[in-house]
Every structure is written in structure tokens, then in C-alpha cells.
């Protein structure tokens, strides 16, 4: 039986580690030792809790106390007050910004109320570097069940019936994908896990690998058995050192336990996994490019067909699935297809993990049932817009996606609805924008990314996106003409129609979506030469309002380029030819005399 009566779960995800959670763990351990409570309380480093906004997180079990923004020096107080005396440390509890109340446990936090955690079920609960904890929570049970009770066909049917669709963005039926690979007869087949997460602002795959690497190992073995493969490969970007380290540990532990290798669980099934590192090129998330990169060739996509299920890695049948897709597999096998398909919406079953980023109060990682509305995600779970500003749009699907605006707030989120609304699910990044964001600038930002990441193989993507970017640059500099809009639309449509792979086929989306939803902002830039959000510097003009200026000289002293002139107690003026629009004068003026026009 377990000797520990109290578990202190400390987040060890990359985000919290950057905020010194490693030192928190060390100090907690030290304090517990000092108090002589070694046999009584246990400190566990877990994966991501998702509430990254307020990291590092420390959760105390069994009373479920949720401490936020814990610093290493708080360890002593937590141990002395909470563990020894049983009194909660109030100042470290989460303060609900809406009701101005203190919430002591995660159950009552709006952030967690609407979440359903399947893929993230073990994140923030178990120690990812300890296979025993994974096994204790039904780990490798699904693999055992499949190997001893099901034929490969039955396993594939179960996944197919569950309605699970690829979580990497494509939304293709996972069961179908497996079936296609299973049908092909070959001496060797491969299972590939796509961990080349590339969308700016997306970190769900990294968090799963960091928080629960064994689930991916187990699911890959299940996939191997189902399609008739003995060899798995994880394509992971080298920028994820912690995820790589934990995955390596997991694979080693699984080998030591005989859950990978020859004759797994005495069934004669053989399976092993190796890692392949990506250099972080966005296009390598595309499955054909990914396979080429693994083979040692340039990470360039090729035409489909042939699909990887026919001819993939080294020309053999290959199944490529995303990390989050894999994380769902063991649960589906344990709980059944009917259970899984009861969650979610008509056409999209189960849950989806989203990474909330941008101008939102609760930045973090969430897992919600498909079919939830954007309003629930942003205003209930996400806690609304930062500083009480007005919601403008949310960018989903990363650089390949589009924008959803206020009119889409009540649309249930699933693959098809998002496409109908002019965006896409993508891998699940959600960048929230408020009234201070300029949509032309946002489109330019995402295009910046695709221009950089285009592999250059096909002309529409390599040349077309560059031209799109130039036109946007021209508009934000105040040199746009009304014809530019037509040019953007025509060029964008051609790029979409003629590009070789998913990157080019979707890269004009942010531009087309912003034109579609925020035509007024484009018009303001082109015709009035103004940026309504006040982002595009070239279109801004700083001015001093005569009536408000008292001649205190504060602004003139703050100006780094000496663009402000005026004697003491007299009205000041800004020389716009010298002004670099840094905003220092606005910050300094106490009389609201400096305005942006």
C-alpha cells in the first residue's frame, strides 16, 4: 500500500519550468525533509496542467488545493502552513477575476469546468518519467487488450466506429487511414507519429509528449499491431528538448518492462520505436515532406497519390498520425467506440485540445468536447479579453487558417463548421485578437511566416506568397490603391488552386479571410490612409492638442529624437518629419494632450 497521504503535484511543463518550477520542486522536497515528513508527503513533477497563464502550478492532493504562480521561496510556507498545519496559503490561491473571490480548488475554476480531458487525461496527474504511475492509471491496458482479445481487423473497426478523426488538422478518419495501410501487403510497414508541431502559438503536442509520453508509445504499438507493422518512428522537432528527453525515457522504460521489443506480453507481437529529429521546418508537418525528411532527403512535399498508406517511408506502406490523435487511442480501446462517439458533435466525435494565446485572460491549454461554441471557449474558459477590451477576432488553424469574428461566436466548433466559416481546425492554435489589433497587420504577420517557411519547390507558393506580402506591405505603408484588394483576392485564389501541398494551398487564407471579414479596415488603410487600430506606424501621426497642453515640457524631455519643440508654459509642437512614432510622449503626458491621428 502507498505510504504517502499527501501528494504535491508540481507542473514540470516547459512553460512552468521556465518560471522556475524545478526550483519549487527542490525547495518543497527540502522543506518536507526538514519537517520530517518524507514518509507522509510526496512531491511529484507532472506534465502541463494547462493553466499556463498562472504557472508554476502546485496542486495538493487530496484536498485538491490549486496554488498558482508559486515561487521557489513559497515552498516553506506551503509546507509549514498547508502540510503541517492544514491551513491553505490564501495568497497563493487563484483569484477569480469576475467575482473577485478566491477559488481554492480546480473543480470550481471556470477554466476547468467545461473541459473534458481525454488526450490530456494524465497531464498534470502523473509523473511522466515514471512508467509505474502510467500503468497505475490503466496504462498499457489497451495494448494488452488489443493484443490478446482482438484481431487487427477488430481493432481497426473499433477505431473506425469511434469516429476519431485526425487531430493534426486534416480531419481524416483515423480508422480509415489504418485500414488503407493494413490492406497493403508488404514485408515491412511503418507507424509514424507526427510531432512536428509548427503552427505559431500551438503547443498541444509538446504538452502531451511532456506530460504523458507513454500514451503515445502505447498507441503507436496498438497502431502497429492493427496495420501489421513492427516499427514506429516519431518525427519530432529538435526545438522540443524536454519532450524528446521524456519520450526517450518512456521508450526506455517500456523496453525494460518488455512493453516494447520482441514478444510483447507473451503474444509474439514485436514492436519498437525510434526517434527522428526535425530541424523545425513548417512544411515538414505535411506528411509527404515529413517522410522525405526522415529518409534524409530535403523536406519537400510530393504529389499525392501515392498516399503514404501505399508508399510512404522507404517506399513502404506507412501510417502517419498526429500526437493528439494517438493520445486518444488507448482510451477509445478501453472505454469503447460507443462511449467516444457519445462525446462531441454530429460529425466530429470526441474532444479537441486547443492552445489559447493572444489577448485572452487565461492563456493555456484546454481540452473541450467538439461542438462547443467559440463563446464558451473564449469567454468562459478563457476568461474573456485582457484588460476588458473588446473582442475582435480569433485566428484558428495557424498560418493556414482564417479568422472568426463576432458573428461566429455561437457556431459550434468542429472541422466542417470552421471550414464553412472560412477558417479551419488546424492543429488547434487559437490566437485571440482585440480591438487594438490591426487585421491587415495580422494577415501580414502570418504571411511573413509562410513566405519564410515555403520550401520553394512550386512557383505559386514561392513567388505568389512573396507578391502577396509585398502588396500588404504597400498597404500598411499607406501606398495602397483600391485595385490592390482585387489583386490580393485574385492572386490568393490562384495560389490556393495551383500550389502543390497543403502549405501553399492554405497560405493565402489569412489574407482572404481578413479581406472577407474586415474589408472596412483595408479600406481605411487604402483610402483614408489610416490604421483604425493604431498599429501600422507609417499611417500614424502624433499631434499635440493645443487646449490640453500646459507646456510642462515633459514630452519634449522624453522625446528621443528631439522632435518636440516649445518653450516652458507654452504650447508644444511635434515635428512629424522627425517623429519616429515611439509613443514615449504619450506615456509621459499627464494631460492627455498628445493624440494619435
Amino acid at each position: 500500500m502507498s505510504g504517502y497521504k499527501i501528494h504535491l503535484l508540481v507542473c514540470g511543463g516547459t512553460g512552468c519550468k521556465a518560471s522556475l518550477s524545478t526550483a519549487v520542486v527542490e525547495n518543497l522536497n527540502h522543506e518536507i525533509k526538514t519537517q520530517g515528513l518524507d514518509d507522509f508527503a510526496q512531491v511529484v513533477t507532472t506534465g502541463c496542467f494547462g493553466f499556463c497563464e498562472k504557472g508554476p502550478i502546485v496542486k495538493i492532493i487530496p484536498d485538491n488545493t490549486f496554488y498558482v504562480q508559486v515561487k521557489p521561496e513559497d515552498a516553506r510556507e506551503i509546507v509549514e502552513e498547508h502540510i503541517v498545519k492544514g491551513r491553505k496559503v490564501e495568497r497563493l490561491l487563484y483569484h477569480d477575476p469576475d467575482k473577485e473571490t478566491i477559488v481554492s480548488d480546480s473543480k470550481h475554476m471556470n477554466f476547468y469546468k467545461k473541459q473534458v480531458r481525454i488526450a490530456l487525461r494524465n497531464c498534470g496527474v502523473i509523473d511522466p518519467e515514471n512508467i509505474d504511475e502510467y500503468i497505475a492509471r490503466d496504462g498499457y491496458k489497451a495494448l494488452g487488450k488489443v493484443l490478446s482479445e482482438k484481431t487487427p481487423e477488430e481493432a481497426i473497426k473499433l477505431i473506425k466506429d469511434s469516429g476519431l478523426r485526425g487531430r493534426g488538422g486534416g480531419g481524416f478518419s483515423t480508422g480509415m487511414k489504418w485500414e488503407l495501410a493494413a490492406k497493403n501487403i508488404s514485408d515491412e510497414k511503418y507507424v509514424v507519429c507526427n510531432a512536428d508541431e509548427g503552427d505559431p502559438g500551438a503547443f498541444m503536442d509538446r504538452s502531451i509528449l511532456e506530460g504523458d509520453p507513454h500514451t503515445v508509445v502505447e498507441a503507436m504499438a496498438i497502431c502497429g499491431y492493427s496495420i501489421g507493422s513492427n516499427y514506429g518512428l516519431v518525427y519530432i522537432r529538435a526545438e522540443y528538448p524536454l519532450a524528446i528527453e521524456r519520450l526517450k525515457t518512456a521508450i526506455k522504460q517500456a523496453r525494460d518492462y518488455g512493453l516494447l521489443g520482441n514478444n510483447i506480453l507473451g503474444t509474439g507481437f514485436k514492436f519498437d520505436i525510434e526517434l527522428r529529429y526535425g530541424a523545425g521546418a513548417f512544411v515538414c508537418g505535411e506528411e509527404t515532406a515529413l517522410i522525405h525528411s526522415m529518409e534524409g532527403s530535403r523536406g519537400e512535399p510530393t504529389m499525392k497519390p501515392p498516399f503514404p498508406s501505399d508508399s510512404g517511408y522507404l517506399g513502404k506502406p506507412t501510417t502517419v498520425n498526429n500526437v493528439e490523435t494517438f493520445a486518444n487511442i488507448p482510451v477509445i480501446i478501453n472505454k469503447g467506440a460507443a462511449w467516444f462517439s457519445s462525446i462531441g458533435s454530429e460529425k466530429a466525435k470526441g474532444t479537441k485540445v486547443f492552445a489559447l494565446a493572444g489577448k485572452i485572460n487565461n492563456v493555456g491549454l484546454i481540452e473541450v468536447p467538439m461542438g462547443i461554441t467559440l463563446r464558451e471557449v473564449i469567454f468562459e474558459i478563457g476568461g474573456g479579453i485582457k484588460n476588458g477590451k473588446k473582442f475582435k477576432a480569433v485566428q484558428t488553424g495557424g498560418p493556414s487558417g482564417g479568422c472568426l469574428t463576432e458573428k461566429h461566436l455561437d457556431t459550434p466548433i468542429d472541422y466542417d463548421n470552421l471550414i464553412a466559416a472560412g477558417s479551419m481546425m488546424g492543429s488547434g492554435g487559437m490566437v485571440v485578437m482585440d480591438e487594438d489589433d490591426c487585421m491587415v497587420d495580422v494577415a501580414k504577420f502570418f504571411l511573413d511566416f509562410t513566405v519564410e517557411e515555403s520550401c520553394g519547390k512550386c512557383a505559386p507558393c514561392r513567388i505568389g506568397n512573396k507578391r502577396l506580402h509585398e502588396i500588404l506591405e504597400k498597404i500598411t505603408k499607406g501606398n495602397g490603391t483600391p485595385e490592390d484588394i482585387t489583386r490580393l483576392i485574385n492572386l490568393g485564389t490562384v495560389i490556393k488552386d495551383t500550389s502543390l501541398c497543403g502549405l501553399g494551398q492554405s497560405s493565402p487564407n489569412p489574407v482572404l479571410a481578413t479581406i472577407n471579414n474586415f474589408m472596412d479596415e483595408y479600406t481605411a488603410h487604402i483610402e483614408d490612409k489610416k490604421c483604425p487600430a493604431g498599429v501600422c506606424k507609417a499611417l500614424m501621426k502624433y499631434e499635440i492638442v493645443d487646449e490640453n497642453c500646459v507646456g510642462c515640457t515633459a514630452c519634449a524631455r522624453a522625446c528621443p529624437v528631439g522632435a518636440i519643440t516649445g518653450e516652458r508654459k507654452e504650447i508644444h509642437h511635434i515635428d512629424t518629419s522627425l517623429c519616429i512614432k515611439c509613443g514615449a510622449c504619450i506615456d509621459r503626458c499627464k494631460f492627455n494632450a498628445v493624440i494619435i491621428k
Partner: protein, 133 residues
């Protein structure tokens, strides 16, 4: 630790390991099971509440009772330490005083298992902030 050779081995291992992380699942749904709070302030610990708590945790597990045991601060009934508050799902919380191992045994067997009230109940003499809201 050697290799896990069969599915039966895996199952056996899981049963053994389960108790170590069980607590984390249980604490997600405390209202569905018996909740026991043991007062653990200086005065309580001096009167032996830590022994009581350890005894309760061990015995509950031995007797297969699903319960969450947490520690709490001083309940204010220092004359009757160690004090233990027991909440059976659907019932009002009850505070017991002078809970040594013998009393704890009685509480588990008679109150938690059979719903009989046992001697030693301390009448609530205050309301908490949460109730007055």
C-alpha cells in the same frame, strides 16, 4: 523490476500500483465519497491526531472503504482533541471529539459503514463563511 511477460502480470502490477495514484482520482470527486477531515494544528498533533490520521487512512484501505482523508486546521474544539469531521455523502458533516484509534475504529465500523450514530459528537457551535454566503 523485471519484464512484464503476460497480460496477467500487467493486471497484477496495475492493482499493486493503483493505490499510489488512486488518491489523485478520488480527490477530483470528493462529494461522491466519505470525506474525513482530521484537525492537524499544533494542539491536535500534540494530542495524537497524526497517529489517528495514519490509523484511519490505513484502516479505510484495509476495509475497502472509499474515502478521502484530508487534514485541516484547528477546528476550535481544543478540549476534545483529536477532532475528526466526517461527511457521509448526502448527510451533514459531523465532528467527533477525542478520536483515538479505538474511537476511530468505532466511527468507521458503525457510523461510516452502517450509518449508526456513535458517542462523542461535538455539536457545531459556529457557521463557516461558506454557509453564510
Amino acid at each position: 523490476m523485471g519484464k512484464i511477460k503476460t497480460l496477467a502480470d500487467l493486471r497484477k502490477m496495475r492493482e499493486k500500483l493503483k493505490s499510489e495514484t488512486d488518491l489523485r482520482d478520488k480527490s477530483e470527486h470528493p462529494e461522491d465519497m466519505v470525506q474525513i477531515k482530521v484537525a492537524m494544528a499544533t494542539c491536535c498533533i500534540a494530542s495524537g491526531s497524526r497517529e489517528t490520521m495514519n490509523y484511519i487512512v490505513d484502516e479505510l484501505e484495509k476495509r475497502n472503504v472509499d474515502a478521502v482523508v484530508t487534514q485541516t486546521g484547528c477546528m476550535g474544539y481544543c478540549y476534545a482533541e483529536p477532532t475528526v469531521e466526517v461527511t457521509v455523502p448526502g448527510k451533514e458533516p459531523i465532528v467527533f471529539g477525542y478520536v483515538d484509534e479505538k474511537k476511530a475504529n468505532e466511527i468507521i465500523e458503525r457510523y461510516i459503514k452502517n450509518g449508526e450514530l456513535v458517542e462523542g459528537i461535538i455539536p457545531m457551535n459556529y457557521r463557516s463563511i461558506e454557509e453564510t454566503k
